[in-house]
Symmetry: C2
Subunit: 150 residues, 2 copies
């Protein structure tokens, strides 16, 4: 299997939205609405966008993506690579593509002098947790994550 | 008590670092090293910085700060206001300054069309959790927060 990892291009938009919708279905979450899909593509490709998308492509098209951006730790005074989404299309899972993407994210984080990579994972997603632990991911057990919906 | 809320200025740097160090002490965390302090001030004030600091000032100088930046929800396709730190100097706590700052953050989040405000809180910090719940903050109990130190 010949897989290429690369940055997203505008012509990938439709395939990216398909993968995001698949991820939402897998996570049992509400997928982006049609207007959110349009806004998302605009926000990714607008001038000076901070949103980054790494995609994996096979002969059949896009088969995986990682959506990330840089946050910041005030105490470390270093950027953090925040991984918003990572998803490998179901028929391509367990082929090592996730590992390749994760290694590339680690490279990018080092290149940008990040002190950390951070992400949240659904508690029931044991396979994902097992996968992340291979990369020395540690759960922040002393902290609670809060959200205010506006 | 006459308190002004405003954006940080470069001349506030020394006072900001004092407050950050106080917060680290309160949180029983390692405060920023001298080189991190220098980097932090550079990163806040560099051209096109994404880091935002709201400060509260009394006649005596800075008495509180909120350090925030904008992240993004791929599913909502909207920015999120991420609150990295909020701290009110101990002698000024319980005077309503935190409430003023938080209301201002809510205004800013609305102005930037954010879908959410997010932050993490130390589990033992019951007062902070009680405070955030007044603003309808909900703990994301279905998720685990992971970090990889690089």
């Amino acid at each position: 299997m010949n897989i290429t990892l690369r940055e997203i291009k505008k012509s990938d938009s439709k395939q990216l939205l398909k993968l995001i919708t698949e991820l939402a279905k897998f996570e049992k979450l509400k997928p982006p609405s049609l207007s959110a899909q349009k806004r998302l593509i605009n926000d990714i490709f607008k001038k000076n966008s901070n949103l980054k998308v790494l995609v994996a492509e096979s002969q059949k098209g896009l088969i995986a993506y990682a959506f990330y951006f840089f946050t910041y730790s005030s105490f470390l005074a270093q950027p953090t690579l925040y991984l918003e989404d990572i998803y490998i299309s179901s028929e391509y899972q367990k082929c090592g593509i996730g590992t390749c993407i994760f290694k590339e994210l680690l490279n990018i984080a080092k290149q940008y002098k990040c002190g950390r990579i951070e992400f949240i994972v659904l508690k029931w997603n044991k396979n994902a947790i097992k996968f992340y632990k291979k990369f020395n991911a540690m759960e922040l057990k002393d902290w609670k994550f809060f959200r205010i919906n506006i």
